[in-house]
Amino acid sequence: MDSLPILDRLEMGHRLRRLRTELAQTLAERWRARQQDLSAAPGEPVSRAFDEDAGEHLDFLAGAVEGGSLAAFEEYARWKSRVLASRALPAADLVQDFEDMEAWLEARLPSTGKEAVTRALRAGAQAAAEADTEIPGIPAGLSPLQAVQEQFLRVILRGERREATRLSLEALQAGHSIPDLYIEVFQESQYELGRLWESNQITVAEEHMATAVTQSVLARLYPHIEPTSPPQGNMVVTGVEGEMHQIGAHMVSDLFEARGWSVRFLGTNVPRAGVVQALAEHDADLLGISATMLFSVPNVVELVHAVRQKFGNARPRILVGGATFRLAPRLAGELGVESCVGDLRQI
């Protein structure tokens, strides 16, 4: 995977995604063969979401290949086994799935890049077998805003928008900066929501509500942003097509605004043509691209390509960030764009 050029990796990713339906059937057949046709026994709950599982396995496998990162697929394997374990589902199926996939894909992939796929699947099987059910968290007691963060999380989980806003404004009045508030309170609470969902302690509905509250607090704080530097230029920030995670991009927009950039935030899941148009309208010097899911890699590549094709290589500069680029750290360099995967307050 390390030596394969990006175009070959994208080609392989594309090939993998197309196998979804067939793979779902194959996994189903092999699984049922192992279960000795349990569907014959009435009353047995013998369903598994094969189509969904096959799609997810392939999406992350393709994303890891496209992003050129074995570690990204291992990360998926660990995450998926934690999700399964917390829902009392057998994580052993996962290891078996990856083994089934390796055998089945053997005859279906061209030799170029097959090695990378095989290695990812083996690494994934290994990671799944060894996965810890404990979700990695943050060490407590590091932030002076920790008390506010804990309170904020409780409040957003109850859907109390006003109280969440009040808490945040109070922290600003107490002298905490917008960047500290964003990272240590909002980001940390959002990450915690992810852990709570992953470990089956909150429902999707609760996560949606809490996230909606955080978004509304962000909107209320915008007028309080006072640029601390002289004007830096015009910036556009967007999430890629297919990506639903929007808060990261929103926070980046505001944090760059505080640095003196005039930032137009487009939201996420924005079609390429819309981004190109906004860049022209806003006469942008800088484009920020946000991506969270590994399966967003092809859409990131296509967006960068579309922007370069329209405006050339010099301007706007392109800066990428979000979990996708943490999982696939080589990608930014290969695309010739800048990336920021560390703490935004440090740049």
């Binding site: 009435p42 979401a49 969904e52 997810e56 509905a205 915008y222 929007q246 505001d254």
Partner: protein
């Protein structure tokens, strides 16, 4: 593995639109399958459409013993929204997924419709049931999109307001400047109150100021020049003097 956080990455976490809630009180088992799993295979058939395998629960929902279904054509149950296209695909052998509806009736003989997918591959067909999506689920996802959009619009609105406020305060500053220079202009255009004896003028602050000093202070609009007499004098001063022998 039950569906988590909505549907899988195929639909990028969003439900396929148009799926209806399926309430099947009398056929508990199939309902149970469809509620707990995202997708489940109901039937497999040969390329000619003859059933080779059938899910027990599905047979129960059809009200036919499973053994009797084997070998029978599946066409009878399907309400194909696009039969022509489906048949073309069957003949070309191109794989794909086709939305299908199946007409069933429950134990009280009330008809109901099951949403399903017909999956086509080289080995034949598989009929795959979709999970029953609740209205609540669909609404939740709609709400999510609206909420994202709302966040963008609110920020954009605030940003434009901020720009507007910046422009407004700049406007106010220019206006104040203009107003004060206008005041001076008006004052000079009016008759200047000047002392008949010493020649001092009265200032805006109602004090009395030396005429020259007053103009030096208040006359940005005056430019510098020489009157003919003074010019002559200045020129005379500048002419090279005869050096004393």
């Amino acid at each position: 593995m039950p569906s988590i956080l909505g549907r899988g990455p195929a639909t990028r976490g969003l439900p396929r639109p148009g799926l209806e809630v399926l309430v099947m009180e009398s056929t508990e088992l199939l309902a149970h399958y469809l509620q707990t799993s995202a997708v489940i295979q109901l039937v497999r058939a040969t390329p000619e459409g003859l059933v080779t395998e059938c899910n027990q629960a599905f047979a129960a929902a059809l009200g036919v013993p499973r053994s009797e279904l084997i070998g029978r054509p599946i066409w009878g149950w399907l309400v194909d929204p696009d039969a022509q296209r489906l048949r073309e695909r069957i003949f070309t052998g191109e794989p794909g997924l086709f939305p299908q509806r199946i007409n069933l009736s429950d134990a009280q003989q009330h008809p109901y419709t099951l949403e399903a997918l017909l999956s086509l591959d080289s080995q034949g067909f598989a009929l795959i049931g979709e999970p029953a999506l609740s209205k609540e689920h669909a609404l939740r996802n709609e709400l999510l999109l609206l909420n994202n959009e709302f966040a963008v619009l609110t920020r954009e609105n605030a940003r434009q307001n901020k720009d507007l406020r910046k422009a407004q305060s700049e406007l106010e500053r220019v206006y104040d400047e203009l107003k004060s220079s206008h005041w001076h202009l008006k004052k000079i255009q009016e008759v200047l109150p000047i002392c008949m004896i010493c020649g001092k003028v009265r200032t805006e602050e109602a004090t009395w100021d030396d005429l020259i000093h007053y103009f030096k202070q208040n006359s940005d609009f005056l430019s510098h020049s020489y009157c003919p007499e003074c010019l002559a004098r200045v020129e005379a001063d500048l002419e090279p003097k005869e050096e004393a022998p």
